[in-house]
């Protein structure tokens, strides 16, 4: 990310941490052991009534379940860049949590670069900006084989 004097803030609080090894913030149901994202808006297991949710950091790495793009600028409340560059979106499966989470793919990738099953990690990226702030959201970044080996 380019460095300037802009202050980086999440577009909406409470969805992810802002750090190099960023994480999505989810919920974990104490009794059922099930997860949800976002932490306060997930469905609950009817077999575990009145289960409590604790905040947890979700797995950073997952695999692409499917992917697409939006060739046309989405309408508000999305704030589209001008000129608009088509956003790419991936639905990513987290192995431990056994759930699929959607998010934009970081800038610079097109659908041709992606495939189902491709490993990705969660990052933060710019959703939109004004003169003072850069508003961030979570984004998926492809992890190529060599990087994966580095991590191992």
């Amino acid at each position: 990310m380019t460095k300037d004097t802009k202050i980086e803030v999440p577009a909406v609080e409470g969805f992810f941490t802002i750090e190099e090894e960023t994480h999505l913030i989810g919920g974990r149901f104490k009794k059922s052991g099930s997860f949800c994202f976002p932490k306060s808006l997930g469905g609950s297991d009817p077999d575990f009534p009145e289960d409590e949710i604790e905040e947890v950091l979700l797995s950073r790495v997952g695999k692409i379940w499917s992917y697409t793009n939006s060739a046309y600028p989405p309408p508000p409340p999305f704030i589209a860049a001008e000129p608009y560059v088509p956003i790419v979106i991936a639905a990513v499966e987290l192995e431990e949590e056994k759930m699929v989470i959607i998010g934009q793919v970081v800038n610079g990738y097109s659908v041709e670069d992606l495939s189902v099953g491709m490993p990705v990690e969660v990052k933060v990226g710019t959703l939109y900006e004004d003169s003072e702030y850069r508003y961030l959201t979570w984004m998926w970044k492809p992890l190529f084989e060599e990087q994966k080996q580095d991590k191992n």
């Binding site: 009817p46 992917y67 060739a71 508000p76």
Partner: protein, 395 residues
């Protein structure tokens, strides 16, 4: 549960008319009353399907339609379930009839839609997942259709040509439908020349937003008999399912699926459960169905429905399409009306419009798009936030 009778149906043609939705609803209601040969004063209950776009939620649809037809003290209810609103309104009417609260009811839905993508209402709502998916991700409805279409390609080897062929088929059906917005027959080349909206789906494969209205007059079988209608098209079952936790499939408007970390998902998925419900309630199986109207927001979704409604096994939808089984004249014609691809979405009207089409099919009144000897028909639909809907009709 006992069947109810369809006495009449009516539609206002779909289009981009830009007029007040009340006008479309009134036209559709009057046509349905004429078709039933009943006066508005004879209706015991009016059930309205609500739109959220046209001012104070559809002016609370049932009462606004009643006022347009002339307030006369009739009983009224209004239902909102997004795209499943029409089926919900029909179900409310069925409940009134089968409980004996009324003999005959009018169900009506109409909408005037803006151009472009459907989007949340104005305002900032960080606790509304429908608002969040647009703001934080840019996930429009076609984005979700694209995700599932790509997944279908990956899982079952579907191709972009398969998706285009759905549109080709449905456009051929729509040529004979005066209520459809698009009556043009499209060739494969037309579709592949249209721009990609959400990869792998193209503009001509994604349903647009339309103005339109649809209405149905329904009654008890005894009341139908008292009018001399001995063999009406009947509604044998209605499904209004929610999903079952954990639902492992990503669906709009959510940012994530449920987690299956500690619970195994139900063997029968959400969409499959919608058809299962009406089959069970009607005591029949998918092999008995002669014709279907399914919710093809995108052409790829129609293929999913073939499997979800049990017309074929998983992964076989493309062959069912390609061998002509789902065209008029085939084994199980799907979307003989032309489907949403030819109509566009007029949200509170569309589940009712599906019932209108199947009524015409089963009454052998569908003209050049008639499915020969159709006796059993099924609709499938789905409303935002987990509202399944299906109606089973037979004669």
């Amino acid at each position: 549960m006992e069947d109810i009778a369809i006495l009449g149906v009516g539609m206002h043609p779909w289009g981009k008319w830009g007029r007040n939705f009340v006008e479309y609803g009134t036209v559709a209601a009057r046509k349905a009353l004429d078709d039933a040969q009943l006066e508005w004063s004879e209706i015991g209950f009016i059930s309205g399907a609500i739109t959220v776009r046209c001012g104070y939620p559809g002016y609370v649809a049932g009462s606004t339609m009643a006022r347009a037809l002339g307030f006369n003290g009739t009983q009224v209810a209004s239902s909102y379930a997004a795209c499943a609103s029409g089926a919900t309104a029909l179900s409310v009417a069925r409940g009134q009839i089968l409980s004996g609260a009324c003999d005959v009811a009018l169900v009506v839905g109409a909408d005037t839609t803006p151009d472009g993508f459907l989007a949340p209402n104005d305002g900032i709502r960080t606790d509304d997942t429908d608002w969040l998916r647009f703001h934080m991700v840019g996930a429009t409805n076609p984005v979700y259709f694209g995700l599932h279409a790509r997944r279908r390609m990956e899982m079952y080897g579907a191709t972009q040509e398969d998706f285009a062929l759905v549109k080709v088929k449905n456009s051929k059906h729509a040529v004979f439908n005066e209520n459809a917005r698009f009556n043009k027959e499209y060739a494969l080349e037309d579709i592949s020349a249209s721009p990609v909206v959400s990869d792998p789906l193209r503009l001509l494969e994604i349903c647009t937003t339309s103005d339109g209205g649809a209405a149905v007059v329904v009654s008890s079988l005894d009341y139908a008999k008292s009018l001399g209608v001995d063999n009406p098209v009947r509604i044998s079952a209605i499904a209004l399912n929610t999903p079952t936790y954990p639902d492992p499939l990503i669906d709009l408007p959510y940012l994530a699926t449920d987690s299956s970390a500690n619970t195994v998902p139900n063997e029968i998925g959400f969409k499959e459960s919608i058809g299962e419900h009406v089959y069970e309630e009607a005591g029949i199986g998918p092999e008995d169905v002669d014709v279907a109207e399914v919710y093809d927001l995108a052409s790829s979704m129609e293929l999913d429905w073939y499997e979800q409604l049990g017309f074929c096994q998983l992964g076989e939808a493309e062959s069912l399409l390609r061998d002509g089984s789902t065209s008029i004249g085939g084994r199980i014609p799907v979307n003989p009306s032309g489907g949403l691809g030819a109509f566009g979405e007029a949200v509170p009207a569309q589940a009712i419009a599906q019932v209108c089409e199947l009524n015409w099919q089963l009454a052998q009144q569908a003209g050049k798009r008639q499915v020969k000897d159709a006796r059993i028909g099924i609709t499938a639909n789905q409303g935002l936030f987990g509202h399944g809907s299906s109606v089973l009709l037979r004669r």
